[in-house]
């Protein structure tokens, strides 16, 4: 071994300080806190749709939000794991969950077309508000996950960007969705899924450059 490397090792050894090892539960706690902050903001600004908890919501409301929850958790879990790299790691759960959520807009379109209805979903007066509010709600979780990745050692930046966007979009839309009383198949299938897709693209474009190390 050469002298330079010996000196480097001696220097690194000298400056060694104890560190707290990355724990996945810390990452999960961070996401939980981000979700609570988001929920608090939604409570203050929009208020919850209480009727949903009193049996007024259509089943599709719960199906949509259930799938968003699963997608958000699967993607957030993958992002948390990506901070600790390892050859052999697989992060396939978000891919399958994303495919699963893709069924919603498809179901919405088929449902409307098969009933001979008009495409009123694209002419929805609440659409833009739901879309924008969901993206706003995604920023807290997105920021928390990006911060987690910056502290970690992610080696798959593009995938980390996608998954961060998907996780933030899904959890943000889910939490905002608890305030939205429009529970039609078309509205939920299109306007409560589109923010996830857009957040994923934003994540892919923005996050990789923030987590390079």
């Amino acid at each position: 071994m050469n002298k330079n490397r010996d000196n480097l090792i001696a220097g690194l050894t000298e400056e060694l300080a104890p560190v707290r090892s990355f724990q996945r539960r810390d990452g999960m706690a961070l996401v939980a806190v981000a979700a609570l902050v988001t929920l608090a903001g939604i409570l203050v600004i929009e208020g919850l749709w209480v009727g949903a908890f009193q049996g007024e919501a259509a089943p599709f409301f719960w199906v949509t939000n259930g799938l968003l929850l699963l997608l958000g958790m699967a993607s957030a879990g993958a992002v948390i794991a990506m901070a600790s790299p390892g050859v052999g790691n697989r992060h396939d759960a978000p891919k399958w969950s994303s495919a699963m959520i893709g069924v919603l807009p498809l179901a919405a379109l088929i449902s409307v077309v098969s009933h001979g209805g008009e495409m009123t979903g694209f002419n929805d007066p609440y659409a833009l508000h739901c879309f924008a509010a969901s993206l706003m709600a995604a920023t807290v979780t997105g920021g928390a996950l990006t911060m987690w990745l910056r502290r970690g050692a992610p080696v798959s930046h593009e995938a980390a960007g996608w998954f961060t966007g998907i996780a933030a979009g899904a959890l943000g839309t889910l939490l905002y969705g608890l305030s939205c009383p429009v529970d039609s198949v078309m509205h939920l299938g299109i306007w409560h899924v589109a923010p996830v897709a857009v957040a994923a693209i934003i994540g892919r474009l923005v996050v990789p450059r923030l987590i390079a190390w």
């Binding site: 071994m1 050469n2 330079n4 490397r5 480097l8 090792i9 001696a10 690194l12 050894t13 000298e14 060694l16 300080a17 104890p18 560190v19 707290r20 090892s21 990355f22 724990q23 996945r24 901070a83 600790s84 790299p85 390892g86 050859v87 052999g88 790691n89 697989r90 502290r151 970690g152 050692a153 080696v155 798959s156 930046h157 593009e158 995938a159 190390w213």
Partner: protein
Amino acid sequence: MIAEEATLARLMTAAQKGDKAAYNVLLSEVSMWLERYFRKRVPASQQDDLVQDVLMAVHHKRATYDATRPFLPWLAAIARYRWVDHLRKVYKHESDMLEDNDASVDSDEDVVEARVSLERLFVHLPEAQVEAIELVKIDGHSIREASEMTGQSESLVKVNIHRGLKKLAAIVEKAE
């Protein structure tokens, strides 16, 4: 092999708690492991820089090692990441030819392990991309020389390098 893994994992866990003696031994062992790991895929003149680069990364990112998981896959992921980054930066084409220094090899098993570890990344790339990266980024030939040697146009060599490195960066963890 199992003993090496277990020993390194134990040393790393101790280092995370601030044990300097364990850390010094760990870095020395890691340094030698990395030398073997990079031997066939980095010109000898650049090996030391790369090993030092990875040692620095290990130091700064030591908290990301999860003591409940094996150590070597964690180290290999960091080594691969820094190696791909190194390939992106290197564009020399004169004297940095890869040297055949098998004479200093410690054991056949280690050589196989080291070669396979990085070779596994290349398995996922089309042959033309592997050829372009090996000739220009590892063996140090110019784009024109690589073009003449492979029969690919110069533009195609550049495209193959670009796409190949992008793919390598994406499969750092997956390829095993």
